[in-house]
């Protein structure tokens, strides 16, 4: 199998440059080439310009700005020789077969044996791309179809041709899943592959049915949004986001490729109400958010900002009308409740689902190897919460079939075939799925990409309480799973930490902290803190902090390795858990930060202690205690958050020894492997003592804060909170020649926390956060 160690991307447009950036995010060097623009001074201006643009772009294509250095820009005339040592050459130029064919011939002259060439085409069949190319080329060629933006959209569709060697596809799958962290879905060489085949039809149906059934754009988005498990942009706001002018091109290229009998070809009519509406919008420059507006727009008439929406019948803008459909509210009771609701939203939901799910069931076997691939593609390519077959299971395939019949609609063979059953089921503790030949097969659980759900299936936890559980995940490793709301830390969580710290007594040799959660933990449950504060139950608050500190110290000094598997948000107390693990295995897209000042307190679960220790013991830092202290101070006092593992490493929430996993699905397996690798010869960490400057450091920090307050960059109360933080980080009542222990630092954290939580502005901040989810600047 080819190992991909160096990559080239040809074409520095939006997709090409985004793919190059993400390859760089994986730590892999990448050459980015584009044509020499006419009359340019710099022959590589396009690739260089793309890198510069991406460095400023939001959301950021790079996980860390320094990743840009892994991209070598060049041009397709002078630098083609740079392809000679590339293992994977990804073409992302114009969607024009002639242009691509010419380029492939030139690539073929320079690329090495065994290298892989792929196209990022979304519309041209593979068969057509290899036409007239050599056998050598056809063997090494495949399609890799990324979704925009490549860093954030998880789907990577891979299409092999008849001649493509299996080793090439294996290498792409391996690189795509492990290095790029993508959900790799192998698709058949059919128009639009999986994601766009279903997605484009869904877009058309969702828009045209809204017009057909007389829904406003707000009403339509309120249904084909959250209630159907789709992002809240629904369909019309999604069109504004992706660009309305793209629709005619995409539709036309799909229609060119699809057989005339395809439902999309039959139903789509560019001259109908929808087609005319969209044509008119594009003509007038209403191409979406990038243009003057789209189905929604913001106007500034009479100096007042007004959000308007397009009236689908008149084509005129009018003030936005908040949707108010009972069917949308019924979403809480499940998908079927939406569809069965009598109002026009319910009818609309049924119209969309009956068409889209039938279409999917009809074509699934043509476009994919399994229903799992179809579902995965729609979840990760269109951010649907549930794939089409999962939706069918939620509705009940039998019920769905009956309702189709009642409406006089044909029932797709696959749905007939599943009959009374579901597309997914659990049999004897094994998850199974319905295959195209009409039987059930086990859902594979790879050793390097298992989920906690796979280990929990048919098993009982080692221990469990309301907020956390301990599971056996094999090979003598236990997994501590948090499951309170947002994995917030409460008394039960802390109690389970304390128990987990003694799991060796039950024969376990390592512990991982993790699960299948969206967020590792958003920190302490501040609602509980506010309740205790309002009742002046200070001993309760004090004991709570003490218990958290004790539990995390026990985990830190446990006799066995502890690995925290961080994904999503690890904020406040959540970050503190990770800081106390021997090793963190972090998902590349995780968020870490000590954000306590946002609610007017300071980290008191050992967060100050750990961060100041990391900075003070950093060997590469400049001399003197103040540079180290001011880094820790600034990070906590301004609630800095690392928005990727790479950024968190810079902020020292992650150490160089901590691991990064690109693919969320592989996180627990990586964490477990890392924990097991540490078992032999494991030694508990040596307690750290620090020399801290005490009052001198507080004076220096005070100076900095005073000037920030004067500049209006910090509030007077920020200064109070920062003062308490300074008290902790400076080591309290100490001198640079004295040693400060972890215990002393924890005690300082506890005192500072209690001082602040008794102050009204802190309680105001907590209350505001609970009510609005945003920090109060008081």
């Amino acid at each position: 199998m080819t190992e991909i160690k160096k990559v080239a991307v040809l074409g520095a447009g939006v997709m090409g440059s985004g793919i190059a950036a993400h390859v760089a995010n994986a730590g892999v060097p990448v050459v980015l080439l584009d044509i020499v623009p006419k009359g340019a001074n710099d022959r590589s201006a396009l690739a260089k310009g793309a890198i510069d643009r991406m460095l400023k772009q939001k959301p950021a294509p790079f996980m860390h700005k320094k990743n840009a250095r892994l991209i070598t820009p060049g041009n397709l005339e002078d630098d083609l020789s740079a392809l000679a040592d590339c293992d994977w050459i990804c073409e992302a130029v114009l969607e024009d077969p002639t242009v691509k064919h010419d380029l492939y011939k030139r690539v073929e002259d320079v690329r090495k044996d065994g290298s892989i060439v792929t196209s990022n085409t979304s519309t041209i069949p593979l068969e057509k791309l290899v036409e007239g190319q050599s056998d050598r080329f056809a063997k090494d060629f495949a399609i890799t179809h990324f979704f925009n933006p490549p860093r954030y959209m998880r789907l990577l569709e891979v299409v092999g041709g008849k001649a493509t060697r299996p080793g090439a596809l294996d290498a792409l799958r391996q690189f795509g899943e492990v290095d790029l962290g993508k959900q790799v879905v192998v698709c058949h060489d059919t128009p639009g592959f999986i994601g766009n085949r279903i997605g484009i039809y869904w877009s058309f149906v969702a828009m045209s049915q809204a017009i057909e059934l007389g829904l406003t754009v707000e009403e339509a988005d309120s249904i084909v949004g959250r209630p159907l498990g789709i992002p809240k942009t629904g369909i019309f706001a999604l069109g504004d986001l992706t660009g309305i002018d793209l629709a005619p091109h995409i539709n036309a290229s799909m229609l060119r490729l699809l057989p005339e009998t395809d439902a999309f070809a039959l139903e789509f009519n560019p001259k109908d109400t929808l087609g005319t509406l969209i044509g008119g919008m594009i003509e007038k420059g209403y191409t979406g958010r990038k243009g003057k507006g789209g189905f929604y727009r913001r106007t500034n008439e009479a100096g007042e900002k007004v959000r308007e929406a397009l009236d689908l019948t008149t084509g005129e803008y009018r003030p936005e009308q908040k949707a108010n459909l009972g069917s949308a509210r019924a979403g809480r009771k499940g998908l079927r409740a939406v569809v069965e609701h009598e109002d026009k939203g319910g009818q609309y939901a049924w119209a969309v689902l009956s068409k889209v799910l039938s279409y999917t069931a009809e074509h699934a076997a043509d476009i994919s190897d399994s229903i799992r691939d179809v579902d995965a593609a729609m979840r990760t390519g269109y951010a649907w919460k549930w794939g089409p077959f999962e939706q069918l299971d939620m509705l009940g395939p039998k019920w769905f079939a009956e309702k189709l019949k009642a409406d006089g609609l044909p029932v797709p063979a696959l749905i007939e075939k599943v009959g009374d059953g579901n597309f997914y089921r659990e049999e004897n503790g094994v998850a199974e799925y319905f295959t195209y030949d009409g039987s059930y097969a086990a859902v594979p659980v790879p050793d390097d990409a298992w989920q906690l759900a796979d280990r929990k299936r048919g098993a009982e936890p080692i221990m469990r309480n309301g907020s956390a559980s301990l599971w056996d995940v094999g090979d003598g490793v236990a997994c501590l799973e948090l499951h309170s709301k947002m994995n917030a830390i409460d008394n039960d969580t802390v109690a389970m930490f304390a128990k987990a710290a003694q799991i060796d007594k039950q024969g376990y040799k390592a512990l991982i902290i993790g699960g299948d959660y969206d967020n590792f933990s958003v920190g302490a449950n501040v609602g509980v803190v506010l309740f205790a504060a309002n009742a002046a139950m200070w001993p309760v608050v004090d004991q709570g902090i003490g218990a958290l500190q004790d539990a995390l110290m026990k985990l830190k000094y446990a006799k066995f390795p502890v690995v925290a598997a961080v994904a999503g948000m690890a904020l406040g107390g959540g970050c503190e858990i990770a800081l106390h693990a021997d090793v963190v295995q972090a998902h590349a897209e995780s968020y870490m930060g000590l954000v306590e000042v946002g609610v007017g307190v300071i980290p008191a679960g050992g967060g100050c202690k750990e961060l100041v220790t990391r900075w003070m013991t950093e060997k590469k830092r400049p001399g003197g205690p103040l540079p180290a202290l001011s880094q820790a101070f600034e990070t906590i006092a301004t609630a800095k958050v690392g928005t990727s593992a790479a950024e968190s490493r810079e902020l020292k929430f992650l150490r160089r020894s901590d691991g990064i996993t690109m693919n969320r699905d592989r996180l627990l397996a990586d964490a477990k492997a890392r924990a097991l690798s540490m078992v032999d010869g494991y030694a508990t960490p040596e307690p750290v003592v620090l020399n801290l400057p005490g009052a001198t450091a507080r004076a220096a920090m005070g100076l900095a804060v005073t000037s920030l307050v004067a500049q209006g960059k910090a509030t007077a109360y920020d200064a109070v909170v920062a003062g308490e933080l300074g008290q902790v980080l400076s080591g309290g009542d100490t001198d640079i020649v004295d040693e400060v222990t972890e215990k002393q630092l924890l005690s300082l954290e506890r005192q500072a926390f209690l001082t602040l939580v008794k102050k009204t502005p802190t309680l105001d901040r907590i209350e505001h956060m609970l009510e609005t989810g945003r920090p109060l600047r008081n």
Binding site: G624, L626, A699, G702, S707, A710, Q711
Partner: protein, 378 residues
């Protein structure tokens, strides 16, 4: 007592910290090249030099390790030349000149290199490891007050509005730009070459500065204040050097004398209005010379901040038509430790160029001080 003269003045171009051309050049390297050029141009016999006195406001990092001695080596001076680094913050390199003058009059040497350096890019203002005395900070926080705040304090105390401050900045840039265009800095600037980097021209001057361009800036130090980045001297990299000798030595060796040092002074003031420091220092220096401000023809007043300069102008009674003829620090830049030698050397050079009799160079100093030097034509 021996007369003391300034017998040469050189400087590097002054460029903005972090983004200017000197940002990537070590400050000791820049200083060494300036001094090398000064020695070559003045023709002073290197082995006659008693001491290299280097002013530097943050003598640590690349400016540490008694950098004056290191610069002796870097500049290729004989090992017999001594080196000492002095710190009076912004007044450091004017202090170098005062120390040399004192030594000459004490008979402790005939020729001195009085230099100043600061890379505000490579050694941050405040230094790497600021460790203020906590007791003093508590009792007297203004001992460590930020410079911008002192400028706001003076603006309030003297009721100097934003427009008046901006006028100082506009004038400073206008004069500096005109002088630059007319090639008036050619005699003083030494081209710095370091690897592929060549630095020839001042980089802080913005010829298009106007009330309108300055109006758009936000207050830099106080949310409701009047001092902006545009009415403050910029963070700057650069180095300067003057040759200070006894008048007898200069005559005996045929050195070109720019000016004679007539009197010097330093004075303390309240740290929270440190910008007013030039007022008592100037008064002392004038008294010692038996002069009045009206007698002075050429004035170099360091523009740390426009508000500070206006307060000094007001209290001393300075005629602005005599002041900063080729622009001040707001336009040219203010590499802290290097500024004192620049304005003293410049005042001496201007006496010659303009054919005038008496000059004053004065500046304010963080912590609440002023320093002044009165020069006369030779």
């Amino acid at each position: 007592m021996k007369n003391v003269v300034i017998a040469g003045y050189k400087r590097s171009a002054l460029t903005p910290a972090n983004r200017g051309e000197l940002a990537r050049v070590r400050p000791d390297e820049t200083a060494a090249q300036v001094i090398k050029a000064l020695v070559a141009e003045t023709g002073v016999e290197p082995s006659d030099i008693e001491d290299l006195i280097m002013g530097c406001a943050f003598p640590e990092g690349e400016q540490g390790l008694n950098v004056a001695r290191m610069v002796v080596f870097l500049a290729g001076l004989p090992q017999t030349v001594a080196g000492t680094t002095v710190n009076r913050f912004c007044g450091s390199s004017m202090q170098s000149i005062h120390m040399a003058a004192g030594a000459i009059q004490l008979g402790a040497g005939e020729a001195f290199i009085c230099a100043g350096m600061e890379s505000m890019t490579r050694v941050p203002m405040g230094g790497y490891n600021p460790m203020p005395h906590p007791g003093l900070y508590q009792e007297m926080p203004d001992a460590y007050i930020g410079m911008g705040e002192t400028a706001e304090n003076l603006a309030r105390k003297y009721q100097i509005d934003r427009k008046a401050q901006q006028e100082v900045a506009v004038e400073s840039h206008r004069k500096a730009a005109a002088a630059q265009a007319a090639g008036k800095f050619a005699d003083e600037i030494v081209t710095i070459v370091d690897g592929k980097i060549t630095v020839e021209a001042d980089g802080c001057i913005r010829p298009d500065t106007s009330q309108e361009t300055l109006d758009g800036l936000k207050p830099a130090f106080s949310a409701d204040g009047s001092v902006t980045a545009g009415t403050s001297s910029p963070l700057t990299d650069g180095a300067t050097a003057v040759l200070v000798t006894s008048e007898d030595y200069a005559k005996a060796h045929g050195l070109k004398m720019l000016a004679r040092i007539k009197s010097v002074a330093v004075a303390g003031c309240a740290p929270e209005i440190m910008g007013i420091g030039p007022v008592p220092a100037t008064q002392k220096a004038l008294d010692r010379a038996g002069l009045k401000i009206g007698d002075i023809d050429i004035i170099e007043l360091n523009e740390a901040f426009a508000s500070q300069a206006l307060a000094v102008i007001h209290d001393v009674g300075i005629d602005q038509s005599k002041m900063n003829l080729d622009g001040g620090a707001i336009a040219l830049g203010h590499p802290l430790g290097a500024t004192g030698a620049r304005i003293t050397g410049k005042a001496a050079a201007l006496l010659q160029r303009e054919g005038k009799q008496l000059a004053l160079a004065t500046q304010c100093i963080g912590g609440g001080q002023g320093i002044a030097t009165v020069l006369e034509a030779v």
